[in-house]
């Protein structure tokens, strides 16, 4: 059954309308990602409404390609302007910008494209190979196991939140609290709804996400003005496609970074930014001449770019199989699935297998499309990097209003979006990270529901979580991940895993960025 679905998915993807959607998604994504300050997550959140009128598979194919292309677009801004369009591209700045300054902007972008292709193809191949197995494996994931995965997801977010862990926990806790709004699944009792029918279904996290990420960014762009113009490289005149010998030298690095990306993506709560720093550090560790890094070294561009594209495939696995998004970008992709009436989780592989496989194939095709579209249009794309912030800001606000309305055709949701925008602004000024709030908002209902279901299945006994081998192992991981954040464990791991400390240190240097 699964093998035939694989073919159904391929047949779906090569339909002209879907190929067109992939191409359009790639173009739009690249241009949006190239605008400084517009992240891949925002690109999806803002353009979600574009896909409403499309068939689910077409819409999802478009969203997936949009996401991948926006990641590449982010590195255009990183390399030319020294402003990473996405946090995942922050590592690219270190070597990309110096290379561009040397007049090799084209080479830097070409390397980034090639690396993205390697990472992207690898992760799609893994995704397509693993997916048929997933169909069987997810059946082993009932409420008890999913509860444990969600707990693990929560703890990892806690230990990875940028800046102050306390503020990260605060943000996550607020997210979990907000997730309690709405009807209780097992009793039908409305909670914190204040007799407001619009809140019965809970807070739509896609709406919250649009507000949290877009509004503060728009305000920031408008307030900041255009400061970067002087430092930017505005010309791409040299050859983009790497030579064969260059390709050969960077290939092992690309594959290694791709693998890192896939594995990091698999872990719920970690996304492109973690993967690209991780890969960058590994590339540096493997390099003969470490001093080259930071001065425009090709390996320093290839590593993060291969990793952050490979993350997509890895992160999609827990997203589609368990309904637990691996990163805030996959969370938005998950929102896309739900908008099209498809609930991610075990039934995605059984009930909506055709759509799922179409999405997986679309990821592969989008990677290839991105390579060619990138080669052809990157030079044109340079123009959008010069769009003034004062234009981009208001446009974001308009798109946010349309987007949040269109999800449920609800005026109430516009208000909700703006409220979350205000929360985002407040968080920004207190330096509280917003991604933990989003993850709390997404994982909250999952935790709540699966906890109650598990207790019903286990006859009211919490012992069910330990009797079940999968959940017991996952919960132990969760405990370790929590201990890891405590000072005791921190000093212990510093002794054992020295290289990783560098990764953490590098992460802290960029700590000011606003999450994915």
């Amino acid at each position: 059954m699964n093998e035939s679905l694989l073919m159904v998915g391929l047949a779906n993807v090569v339909e002209p309308s879907n190929l067109l959607a992939i191409l359009a998604g790639t173009m739009i994504g690249m241009f949006i990602g190239a605008m400084p300050g517009l992240s891949a997550t925002m690109a999806i959140a803002l353009l979600l409404p574009l896909t409403y009128s499309l068939k689910p598979e077409t819409g999802l194919a478009m969203l997936a390609s949009l996401y991948l292309a926006a990641m590449y677009g982010g590195s255009i801004a990183a390399i030319l302007l020294r402003t990473p369009g996405t946090p995942a591209a922050a590592a690219t700045v270190i070597d990309g910008y110096p290379m561009a300054q040397k007049g090799q902007a084209g080479r830097a972008l070409g390397l980034s494209l090639t690396a993205s292709l390697i990472g992207g193809i690898m992760s799609s191949v893994v995704l397509l190979t693993v997916a048929p197995l997933l169909g069987r494996i997810v059946l082993n994931f009932g409420p008890v196991e999913i509860f444990a995965v969600a707990v693990l997801g929560i703890t990892i977010i806690g230990s990875l939140s940028q800046g102050s862990p306390v503020l990260g926990l605060l943000s996550g806790a607020i997210g979990l609290l907000l997730a309690m709004v709405g009807m209780d699944l097992t009793t039908g009792t409305p909670r914190f709804t204040f007799d407001q029918l619009n809140l019965f279904g809970g807070i739509d996290f896609t709406v919250a996400l649009i507000g949290l990420f877009s509004i503060p960014q728009a305000v920031r762009l408008i307030a900041k003005g255009d400061a970067n113009a002087a430092a930017s490289v505005s010309q791409v005149s040299d050859r983009m496609l790497p030579t064969f010998s260059e390709f050969r030298t960077l290939f092992p690095n690309g594959v290694r970074s791709g693998l890192i990306g896939i594995f990091v993506g698999l872990i719920p709560g970690t996304g492109g930014d973690t993967a690209s720093w991780f890969a960058y550090n590994e590339a540096k560790r493997f390099a003969k001449n470490k001093a080259e890094f930071g001065t425009g070294c090709p390996a320093g561009i290839v590593a993060p770019e291969a990793a952050n594209n490979a993350v997509v495939g890895g992160a999609l696995i827990p997203t589609i199989a368990l309904g637990i998004p691996g990163s805030s970008s996959t969370a938005v992709l998950m929102g896309g699935l739900m908008v099209h009436g498809i609930l991610p989780g075990p039934s995605l592989m059984t009930e909506h297998g055709d759509v799922t496989y179409t999405l997986l194939w679309a990821v592969l095709f989008a990677n290839v499309a991105l390579f060619f579209v990138g080669l052809m249009f990157t030079r044109v794309c340079v123009i959008v990097t010069r769009v003034p912030n004062r234009v981009v800001g208001p446009v974001i606000v308009v798109l946010s209003v349309i987007g949040s309305y269109a999800i449920n055709n609800s005026i109430f949701d516009i208000g909700l979006m703006i409220t979350f925008g205000m929360i985002g602004l407040a968080f920004d000024s207190f330096r509280i990270p917003t991604p933990p709030l989003v993850i709390g908002l997404i994982l909250g209902p999952i935790l709540d529901t699966t906890l109650q279901q598990s207790l019903l299945i286990g006859g009211g006994s919490y012992g069910i979580f330990l009797q079940n081998p999968i959940s017991a192992v996952l919960l132990i991981f969760a405990l370790l991940s929590m201990l890891q954040a405590t000072p005791f464990f921190g000093s212990l791991s510093k002794l054992i895993r020295r290289p990783n400390r560098n990764a953490k240190a590098a992460d802290d240097n960029i700590g000011g960025s606003t999450g994915e």
């Binding site: 574009l50 409403y52 059946l139 039908g188 029918l197 019965f200 075990p346 039934s347 449920n408 279901q453």
Partner: protein
């Protein structure tokens, strides 16, 4: 940007069907159809199937409005309290949510008396399924296990207030057993959990599980229809096994209260012609939709009867459920 705006607007209202110069006696040329669920769901499937045929028969344009939220209650509150009563607005009404919404939640204030049922179109019968490797070979095995150990046999349903939840309650009453009811977010997660052996059985619907039953991934123990289903001839009905239980989820059309009687009659007549159309029957069969046409006052009576049943059941178990 302009493109995005237009696309978003198009997405909010999809025009279905075309105006035909045929006099069917209907007072309006354009009819809004409010759906309490998202585009692409079960209600939408009904709309996409029926409305192109109905538009031709009735000589009107249908415009779908998707107003998801509170299991349909936002759309139905709007239908009952705000919709113009001139035939220009109708809504797809789903059972049992149409009535269980306000039976279970005092803050949902519309009632059946404030809407005018027009006709039921489809019913997806309930069904009890277990994993292919389940020890329950027959419905009798399942009942025996439930009798032997009350409140231990876990049975999934599509959510509190949904049809399968009330089916479980009705079954408990009819068989005098106590099940451990586990609500899920919809039918898919419920039967998937049963297929993976995470729960002992799932009370769900035929339409969503037929494919898996046919492929042997799920075993059907009993259907909750009046008679055996032609597509599952070996599966007994609960009624023939001695349990007074006919249940499922139905979808039809209703207007606001004081809907013009003339328009109601015209629409029912047009629906009847659609039901008799072989092209429609073929289209319905392809989508595995089980046609169950109940028109006019019969539909009102059907909803009333259900409302009474649910009210009684909920009154009995309300305290027990919400005390948890």
């Amino acid at each position: 940007m302009r493109m995005t705006l237009i696309t978003a607007l198009v997405a909010t209202t999809a025009v279905v069907g075309a105006v035909h110069a045929q006099d069917s006696g209907y007072s309006q040329k354009e009819v809004s159809v409010m759906q309490g669920f998202k585009a692409g769901g079960g209600s939408d499937a009904l709309a996409q199937l029926v409305q192109p045929f109905l538009a031709e028969q009735l000589g009107v344009n249908f415009v779908n409005q998707y107003i998801p939220g509170a299991t349909g209650a936002i759309a139905w509150t709007r239908l009952a309290k705000q919709a113009p009563k001139d035939g220009s607005t109708i809504s797809i009404t789903n059972t049992p949510m149409l009535t269980t919404n306000y039976i279970m939640n005092p803050s949902i204030t519309y009632t059946l008396d404030e809407i005018t049922p027009i006709a039921n179109i489809v019913t997806d019968p309930g069904i009890a399924v277990v994993a292919a490797d389940s020890p329950f070979q027959t419905f009798a095995d399942f009942v025996a296990a439930a009798e032997a150990a009350p409140s231990t046999v876990t049975v999934g349903n599509s959510g509190v207030g949904g049809d399968d939840y009330f089916t479980s309650l009705q079954f408990e009453k009819a068989a005098g057993v106590q099940l451990q009811k586990v609500p899920f977010q919809g039918d898919g997660p419920s039967w998937t959990a049963a297929m993976g052996g995470k729960i002992d059985a799932s009370f769900t619907n035929v339409g969503v599980t037929y494919q898996q039953i046919k492929e042997g991934n799920l075993r059907a123990l009993a259907v909750f229809s009046e008679e055996r289903l032609p597509e599952l001839p070996d599966v007994p009905t609960a009624t023939e096994l001695g349990y007074d239980l006919v249940a499922g989820s139905s979808r039809g059309y209703s207007g606001p209260g004081d809907f013009p009687e003339k328009d109601r009659e015209a629409m029912i007549a047009a629906m009847q012609r659609v039901m008799d159309d072989p092209a429609f029957q073929k289209a319905a069969k392809e989508q595995a939709l089980n046609i169950d046409f109940v028109a006019g006052d019969d539909y009102t009576a059907m909803l009333k009867r259900q409302e009474d049943e649910y009210r009684v059941i909920w009154a009995e178990i309300k305290d027990e459920v919400q005390a948890k």
